[in-house]
Amino acid sequence: MEIMVLLLIMMVLAALWAVMTSLLLRSAIALALTSVILTVIMYRMGAPLAAVFELSVCAGLISVVFISVISLTHRLPLKEYLARRQSRIMRFWPLPVILIIAGVALILIKNPLGAISPVSAGAQDVRAVMWNLRQLDLFGQIMILLAGVFGVLILFKGYKHD
């Protein structure tokens, strides 16, 4: 239990770093770190397959996409960067305060859910659920992936004409 609390705190802190840092590259790395910690949490809660997907796709592929996009853009001039950084600090300093207040308030609220203990349903296999019960989800996933591929093709086709 203590390890889980520690992991959850680390995840919130990593996400806070992703939001607060002024450099986009650090932000992408912090997002990948958030995904890695979420992977550990998922594994500890008994979802190893989803954890592997989270690690390989969210911490891997999405980080690559973010870093590629950042590398295709360019830095602001130093003067403008410093001015924007100052305005960023002014806009984002309330966030940690809001988080601390919300966290303390939620901890002080008496648990409205009561003691919920996990139901031990029959151990189903995730593969059986995906292929037998959720077949429409798989078709939906295929359609979305195809839509993504066509979307990327169209976007880069536009680049070539420019």
Binding site: A15, S27, F66, F92, L99, I116
Partner: protein, 101 residues
Amino acid sequence: MIDLWLILIFIILLLIEGFYCVVATYNLLRVLIGLEILIKAATLFVIAAGYVSGNMALAQAMVITVIVIEVVVVVIAAGIILGFFSEYDSLNVRNARNMKG
């Protein structure tokens, strides 16, 4: 045993971070990062729900679907952001006011 209320507190904190990032920033990439944090909170909630209901297999199937959708959303959004950058030479979302339509 994992306390569901404790996990819910952290999910709410993640949601606050994500919403704040989306609302307070003018950088399109940071909007996407805020969206990612929101999706991570939703993912954690689905896993916690599966843990409590004892139906972790269904929760995992849902999470895999969410991850696939997340990737496609991020890739398409990244393409749109690059198109925006090539047009305006900036990632500032306020430039979108100059768009047609």
